[in-house]
């Protein structure tokens, strides 16, 4: 609907008439040179797509921009932990329980047996980021598949899939995670991510189903059917591209949720050997005197979650087509 209002002025494309060439020659014949250059210039103006509006809105969303810059910095630091970390995260040193300082290059201090906490945090970020991105990917994949089938086919398939989704929603996630992590996922980021992904696809499935329910009634879907498209082609090539907006938002916010859950599990001792959650768990065992052992990884988590949520908010605002206004 909204794009109707924002139809670009079709400057001189001259195709409304049945013979597109006609208007052009008339214009050229009747006017001075400078008009022709305007006309040609008009041709070059690229009309803006909905995506470009969304991009513009996103880039002007200050919090989201701050969020994305910070997140990239944090994630890149995590990804290159092996290169950036000044010390081996597992190697004890003589500098036992140094508080955060810039003097001895222990920015985040050291723990009771002298391991550099900045390096440990970096490695923690790496594990956390692996898990969270994998979870977002896995959950989106499952959610899209289930939601798409559910919304597109409807009927008993929809009922079956949505009742299954409800089942996953009412399951006490933490309890299941702890039990499953204990037997399956100990220490491996990939397996932990699989577990989390298998539990957290429900939200995305519902969003995708809702979009498919409304989009499958569109005439362009009928047109695709009339051209001979099969169901899967219609689902994934015609409908899915129109639901990408809400999926991206949900997946972004899910990344935050995954980090929190991974940290929780690790904190409770069922997760990874070295992640932000594990660090906090170790730190709180050390007591309040060594405050930085909890605070540094804790603040990192808070910062990541904040960034992710800001980005999610920004994307949501940017992709909302009812919102033409570009936020300052």
């Amino acid at each position: 609907m909204t794009d109707r209002l924002h139809e670009p002025p079709l400057v001189g494309t001259g195709s409304i008439g049945t013979q597109p060439g006609m208007e052009m020659t008339e214009i050229q014949a009747g006017v001075a040179d400078h008009t022709i250059t305007t006309y040609e210039h008009g041709l070059e103006v690229r009309a803006r797509s909905q995506w470009s509006y969304a991009r513009a809105r996103f880039f002007r969303h200050r919090l989201a921009m701050v969020g994305i810059v910070l997140l990239i910095v944090i994630f890149v630091a995590g990804a290159f932990a092996g290169q950036i970390a000044p010390y081996d995260p597992t190697l004890p040193s003589a500098d036992i329980t140094v508080s955060p300082t810039f003097a001895g290059h222990h920015f985040f201090g050291t723990d009771q047996i002298g391991r550099d906490y900045f390096s440990r945090t970096l490695y923690g970020i790496r594990a956390t980021e692996q898990v969270s991105l994998l979870v977002a990917g896995i959950a989106s994949l499952i959610g899209i598949l289930i939601g798409a089938c559910s919304g597109y086919f409807g009927g008993w398939i929809d009922n079956l899939l949505m009742r299954t989704t409800d089942l996953f929603l009412v399951v006490p996630a933490l309890a299941v995670l702890l039990v499953a992590a204990k037997y399956l996922g100990h220490g491996s980021p990939v397996r932990l991510a699989l577990l989390l992904g298998l539990l957290f696809w429900t939200n995305i499935a519902r969003i995708v189903r809702g979009s498919f329910l409304s989009l499958k009634e569109k005439e362009y879907v009928e047109a695709a059917k009339a051209s001979g498209s099969g169901n899967f082609r219609i689902m994934f090539r015609h409908i899915l591209p129109n639901t990408i907006g809400p999926i991206v938002v949900a997946a972004t916010l899910l990344t935050g949720l995954a980090i929190l859950n991974e940290s929780t599990i690790s904190f409770l001792g069922f997760g990874l050997d070295l992640s932000l959650g594990t660090l906090i768990a170790d730190g709180q065992a050390a007591g309040l005197n060594l405050w930085w052992l909890v605070t540094m990884p804790g603040l990192t988590i808070v910062l990541i979650i904040l960034c992710v949520n800001f980005i999610g908010d920004g994307l949501r605002d940017a992709l909302d087509p009812t919102q033409r206004r570009i936020r300052a």
Partner: protein, 357 residues
């Protein structure tokens, strides 16, 4: 042999209710309609909103499953074909949709939209498809440079041209145009109609042209079928329908066509139908038009009239036909296209309107 024969096609939509989704009623969207279409002709399909004309069109191209009846295309019964066998048939019949804003995928470029049917049917390689799409763009009066644009960069009329190009891509024999101009400006309507006419000549196309605007239909059709509440009530060569409507419903429809000349408009009798179209869930007994018909008598409530052949390819289903003289009335016979439930012996005996054609 006709290109397309629609034989006693019914399309009912179930109305489901309750926990068990029991079927409590059926919407009689298309109820026993038979009509044939000759190669190269344009059949106009008119009627009020909700009379089942779009449903019939969609059923013919098998976007909807017919509840009953047969659709015979080039001598082949296609009403029961599965999705796989239907695919090659999609090349033969295509559809142009009503709303050019909804019928083009907003996320796809024009080139992809028009080229999609070619890709599905594996016609040519990417390069030849591109050339073909650009040729199609030119055919429908757009410019090949529009290949990489998005639908929202076009006006309504241009979008409809894109829709037409998509329908043409597979070089179909039959095109079902579902109100292709009703969403457009009046000034643009004629452009699209002319385009469709030119294309018909160029590619020997057959059209089923669905519309609720009788003025538009008159302009394009060779024959016109009038539908009311899922039934075919009149079928006639185009000019004859306008000069000599037999069914009172058609008469009422025609009297609603605006006349640009105020004096003539003043002189004309306006027949205003009272009430709404009855619910197709529980359609009236006998002749479906009887609750709103000014000529209706007892027999109209009881007996469903057969489609009666008045000669010259003019069929109408009415107990009290208009514009028919007594001599013709004595000759008439029930047409084979009559619905199964109609009483074939209940032929009209009197004419209620002016009896000289």
């Amino acid at each position: 042999m006709s290109l397309l024969e629609v034989q006693h096609v019914k399309k009912y939509f179930p109305v489901r209710k309750g926990l068990l989704q029991r079927e409590v009623a059926r919407v009689h969207a298309v109820d026993d309609v038979s009509v044939s279409v000759q190669e190269g002709e344009t059949l106009g399909l008119v009627g009020e909103s909700g009379c089942g004309k779009s449903t019939l069109g969609r059923t013919i191209v098998r976007l909807l499953e017919p509840t009953d009846g047969e659709i015979v295309f080039e001598g082949r019964n296609i009403s029961k074909l599965g999705a796989g066998k239907l695919r090659p048939l999609r090349r033969e019949m295509q559809m142009v949709f009503q709303d050019p804003y909804a019928s083009l995928n907003p996320r796809k470029r024009v080139g992809t939209i028009i080229g999609d049917p070619l890709e599905i049917h594996g016609i040519g390689d990417a390069k030849s498809r591109r050339a073909r799409v650009q040729e199609l763009l030119r055919t429908v009066g757009l410019s090949p440079e529009h290949y990489n644009r998005f639908p929202h960069e076009f006006s309504g009329g241009q979008r409809q041209r894109i829709g037409v190009a998509r329908a043409l891509a597979l070089q179909p024999k039959l095109i079902i145009a579902d109100e292709p101009v009703s969403a457009l400006d009046v000034s643009i309507q004629s452009q699209i109609l002319n385009l469709l006419g030119d294309l018909q000549e160029e590619f020997r196309l057959t059209y089923i042209f669905i519309a609720h605007d009788l003025g538009v239909v008159r302009h394009v059709s060779d024959r016109i079928a009038v539908m009311y509440l899922g039934k075919l009530v009149e079928l006639s060569p185009a000019e004859e329908l306008y000069e000599r409507p037999i069914m009172p419903y058609t008469e009422a429809l025609l009297s609603a066509v605006p006349i640009p000349d105020p004096d003539r408009a003043e002189a004309r009798e306006r027949i205003v139908l009272t009430g709404d179209v009855p619910s197709p869930i529980d359609p009236p007994s006998g002749c479906r038009f009887h609750p709103r018909c000014r000529y209706a008598t007892e027999v109209c409530k009881q007996v469903e009239p057969p489609l009666t052949d008045y000669g010259n390819g003019h069929l109408a289903a009415c107990h009290h036909p208009l514009n028919v003289d007594q001599a013709t009335l004595e000759r008439v016979r029930a047409a084979p296209e009559s619905p199964a439930e109609a009483d074939k012996s209940a032929l009209p005996v009197d004419s209620s309107g002016p009896s000289n054609p």
